[in-house]
Amino acid sequence: MRHLSLTVTLVLLSILAVAGGSAAAPPAPAPAPCVCSVSAYDVPDDGGGAIAVSWELATTTISPAVTRFEVLRYAAGEEPASIGEAPPRDSGFVDADADHGRTYQYIVRTHTIDGFVDSVPSDAAIATAQWFAHGRVSSLIAVILVCGSIIFFIVRAKAGTELFIRKIPGLDAVDDAVGRATEMGRPVLYVPGIETVSEVGTLAALTILGHVAKKVAQHGTPLLVPTADPIVMTTAQEIVKQAYAEVGQSDRFDPSSVFYLTYDQFGYTAGVDGIMVRERPEAVFLLGYFAAESLILAETAHEIGAIQISGTKETSQLPFFVAACDYTLIGEEIFAASSYLSHEPVMLGSLKGQDLIKIGIVYLVVGLVILASIGYAIAPDGTSALSGALETVKQWMAGS
């Protein structure tokens, strides 16, 4: 019995000694959270000037001690310099400021609450430009289809083929408005929007201006064209001058009837409003690019009792024109109107080409939606080939 108690005591003492020894020993050092490998490579499908840097942590889990990563870059003969930072959860960084064709290496500095550890340098990487962005094949094909169909119809129009375009309802009102202004002995005010000449809406407005100017020249009605851009003013002067010449009224063309106000949006609006209430035009044309000033101009024209013919491709402004004006050319109607009036083969062909694309889109959408819906009817979980085809087309169009 005594022997047994001695044995137990010795065992207990041994356990206590081992336990006590464990508590007293220093903690094992945690593995330093450093980056074990850094890779750098040229960003694909871009215009150059960008290198992607990615890294992996040496530890299997991201240590909570990591506060941030710092990316350092150097070229031959240079000291590494910081170019950016990434949060602790990230494992990649894009250097968008790399010089084209220059060789760089990267170091990732892991910052912890105790300090920092540098990785070994990455392999050399060079930022280069690619000729082709593989994710934009859909855009390329769309451009080829659109341009191809437009060129096809332009060639046909130039060859003398009669291309039919339906009449735009608002266009009849153009002649009526000019006629009424002539009868009343009051001027016609033509506002070609607030954008530059590179805006397609402005281009369409300037084409219609040519038609209006011809009518005005024929009737001897005064014309006022305030512009917000110097190049639009120059172009408008050329168009109006040409229109007067075409109807044999060159001597009646007044260059000062097409004038510049200001490029400032609301400065221009205030100026045009002032012209409206003082000159009291009988017909007001608001065609081109408009923004927040659209309703201000349309309301003022309404207040003076003028016929208002408006048109823009800006969908956010069309509701105001529709509400306040007598006639509105909605969106693409402004381009169709300019094609209809000009009878230029290029413009007619362009419109017909776009029509072909529109019909193509209608068939594509209706066809794919019906097929995919049948696919879902067959396999509601979306595993059928028909529904899969729709998703494939969507991904291809999105460039992914």
């Binding site: 451009v143 029509d355 999105a398």
Partner: protein, 211 residues
């Protein structure tokens, strides 16, 4: 208490705001003054802006600081800009058509790619919505597809709007008008917030009636 400059500026802004708003009653000398001031000052401002933010940094500084290709390529837009000034001389005024043609061509060319990539393809992709059952989402998908297709039919100009095309176009214009109504209301709310901002200036900054 603000400086004298701030006080004068606030009173001037308040006067000009009221002068512009007086147009709601009728055209009057105060509106004329504010209008002419606005047009003149803004025209002058844009001249300075174009000189110091376009011509100087993009043309003069680039030519002075760059080397090689970047230095000499800048001469092309510079020359086109100078050619625009030929309009002052009637005998060679026709030269100004070149930079205009260049600007128009660049705008149209860039517009095709930008619109196809930025508008057409994303919209077609977003319209490819199948009917997967009998839910509200499916009903929404059907309405969306019909709306897009009939709206495209409205903007088809190669045939008269008769028969199936005419029926589709009539449905399309209904969709267009509904979207205009929604857009009208949305934008009106934004404009009212602008009015509130201006009234706040008058009653808070100028008259100190509001806290």
């Amino acid at each position: 208490m603000g400086s004298m400059g701030t006080i004068i500026g606030t009173w001037l802004a308040g006067f000009l705001t009221l002068a512009i708003l007086s147009f709601l009653y009728k055209d009057n000398p105060f509106y004329k003054l504010a209008e002419h001031l606005y047009v003149g000052v803004s025209a002058g401002y844009w001249l300075i802006y174009v000189v110091f933010f376009d011509v100087k940094p993009m043309l003069i500084d680039t030519f002075m600081n760059e080397t090689g290709f970047e230095k000499w390529i800048i001469l092309i837009p510079g020359a086109l800009g100078l050619i625009m000034l030929s309009r002052w001389f009637p005998k060679i005024a026709w030269l100004s058509r070149w930079p205009i043609a260049f600007t128009v061509g660049i705008g149209a060319g860039l517009g095709i790619t930008a619109n196809l990539q930025g508008y057409v393809l994303p919209q077609v992709t977003a319209t490819l919505l199948p009917v997967t059952g009998f839910t509200v989402t499916d009903l929404s998908n059907i309405v969306l597809v019909i709306g897009v297709v009939t709206t495209l039919m409205y903007f088809y100009f190669s045939k008269p709007h008769k028969g199936v095309l005419g029926a589709g176009a009539r449905i399309g214009i209904v969709f267009i008008m509904i979207s205009f109504g929604a857009s009208f209301g949305y934008t009106l709310m934004a404009r009212i917030s602008l009015l509130i901002g201006r009234l706040h200036f008058l009653f808070h900054d100028l008259l100190h009636i509001l806290d």
